[in-house]
């Protein structure tokens, strides 16, 4: 049985733990043995994006230690997966010990939908979720990882779920990690735009595969008490009649 080491991003560990649980269940249902390497903290993306390369490199080395020997690493968020896959090899290029490990791990690390569709050849997880939804692709999924088709294939097979089109789908939601703190006015305006475009489609759910977008959109929905729910793709794929990943 193939084994996956589940990578739990900080926002999943501390804010959206159910996303991690759903991801684990979806993988297990696909016949995968899931293990969660202990001692996970942060992959180093925040300091990396602030240009703190040395800090990020030391966190990358630690991450490589934690995930050493993993057969495959799967993370339920695009930006952290991109960090490991695209940035670790560059960060550690000069490091004789960790450089090759980073190259190796980059080959074995996948975003959840990517792993399901491209590695396992799965298009249908057997999920069911009645209602209408929009899919917020997130820039990190679509542009950075190039995962445009994979999550949509999975969503298309979710029973009773209708995916609605909406305006300016490929536009950033305004989160951008520390950008939302450094430039809160711009960030809030971009979020307003995104939510206006989404609400114009009148969905029941907003689905995304990036937890930082999820925090942004969900934070807005909570602030305004809107009648819609923001869900991670993993939660949707974990939904079935009677029981679901969105409890």
């Amino acid at each position: 049985m193939p084994t996956v080491s589940l990578f739990i991003p900080c926002l999943v560990e501390h804010v959206y733990p159910q996303v991690g649980l759903s991801a684990a269940r979806v993988l297990e249902r696909a016949g995968i043995q899931v293990e969660v390497p202990p001692g996970q903290t942060c992959c180093g993306q925040p300091p990396y994006k602030q240009g703190r390369i040395n800090d990020a490199a030391s966190m990358a080395r630690r991450f490589l230690d934690v995930f050493q020997g993993a057969e495959a690493v799967v993370g339920p968020t695009a930006s952290c997966v991109a960090m490991i896959r695209q940035n670790y090899p560059d960060l550690l290029a000069e490091d004789k010990v960790y450089g090759p490990l980073a190259e190796d791990l980059a080959q074995k690390t996948f975003e959840l939908s990517e792993y399901l569709v491209n590695r396992l050849g799965l298009k249908d997880t057997g999920a069911s979720l009645p209602g209408k939804a929009v899919y917020h692709e997130s820039c990190q999924m679509g542009r950075v990882l190039g995962l445009k088709e994979e999550p949509r294939l999975l969503l298309d097979s979710v029973r009773s779920l209708e995916i609605l089109p909406f305006a300016r789908q490929d536009r950033c939601c305004g989160m951008g990690g520390q950008f939302s703190y450094d430039y809160p006015e711009l960030s809030a305006e971009l979020l307003e735009d995104k939510m206006a475009d989404i609400q114009a489609a009148s969905p029941d759910y907003v689905i995304t595969a990036e937890v930082s977008c999820m925090l942004n959109l969900d934070g807005y929905v909570r602030k305004h008490g809107l009648p819609l729910r923001v869900l991670h793709l993993a939660q949707v794929l974990d939904s079935a009649e009677g029981k679901n990943g969105i409890s």
Binding site: C42, C139, V144, G174, G177, D182, G219
Partner: protein
Amino acid sequence: MGFRERSAAAVCDSNAQAVFRKAAEQFKSEREKVFAALDDPEANRRKVAEIRRRSLANLPALLELLESKVIARGGQVHFAQTAGEANALVQDIARAHGVRKAVKGKSMVSEEIRLNKALMEADVDVVETDLGEYICQLAGELPSHMVAPAVHMSKEQVAQLFTEHLGEPLDFDIPGLTAIARKHLRKRFLEADMGITGVNVAIAESGTFMLVENEGNIRFSVTAPKVHVAIMTLEKVVATLEDAMSILWLLPRSAAGQDLSSYVSLLSGPRRQDETDGPEAFHLIILDNGRSLIMADPLLRDVFACIRCGACLNVCPVWQKAGGHAYGGVYSGPLGSLLTPILGLHPDGWELPFACTQCGACAEVCPAKLEQPKLLLELRRRAKGRSNPAMGLVPWAASKPQIWKQSLQLLRRLDPRLSRLARVPGLRSRLGIWTRARTMPGREKPFSDQWRKLRG
């Protein structure tokens, strides 16, 4: 006042927001339309990317060839290290030819060096002839967009400006406004002793300059006056006409969603004896202004592969909200956030690379395949004193899983909505606004605890 304050002011201006949105969406959709009609736009982009990089790699040789070809065709070539040197050269040329009046075609580099001011100081009356630039000049403002300089102004504001400065009756009709500008500019073209332009592409093999425009003002500026001064930054040169044509294939498409611009001029030196039009004298000024230093830097050189189409601005979510002027300098959007700091064009320049969500929309449309997000990260790495020193504790804390987890859980327990932290002086001005737009979800047991309970 930095970028944050200027952009925050822009988002409060609902007129400006409506104008930015309309412009950005129109540019974006027109571009998408013409790109969709191409057989293989990716191959076209790869070609332009390859040409630009090959040209940068051969820059010294190409510039030498260009210089010799221009001289052979009867032109004069001047190299300027700095903005000051370039301005002094134009002043000297004006003086030598007894120039009192000049017309100028839209040129970002002339804005970069503040040429108009230098000419005014030398008693040369210079007028911008691109409609957008003309409006900006009357308003005393910098252009806010590389392709559409006055995109930040509504037609009502333009009408007001024309009434104030040109004594024209108030007219809100766009063709009417254009006719007013045309009437006033026509006189200036015919009076001018000198025409000043930028250069879209310089072709080394023949000493030819390509100028791309829609209004015909550039062609008028180089044909009517007796002296033509073209100013280019040194990265604009390519080897062959074929290279230039590959760039032209994508430039108007990327810039304005046009298959081809209304005018493309290929100019080679001053009027020869057997020719009936063209200037009597042609001067080329090749400006460095900090570029050769950056070009020696392999991690940043790519910035100069840019062909100045402005497509990156139109798709940039930050530009769409902040508008061009918030960037403080001549260049805005992703390109502005790159050029402004590295060329030292504005004191707040090093803040700009941080004003980016890393969404990658710019790189997706760039005809020269620049990787702006990556380049901006490289600039963040080089920015001094920008990041919070407390960030230095992060790697240490992250190396201690218990401390890491407990401190974040403590924060989640004490202040799940971040409402307390948002009142702390020093955090308030940012986190306060962050939490005004969003409510954090309530506290839950961390994933690792729940997992342990489930799986032992």
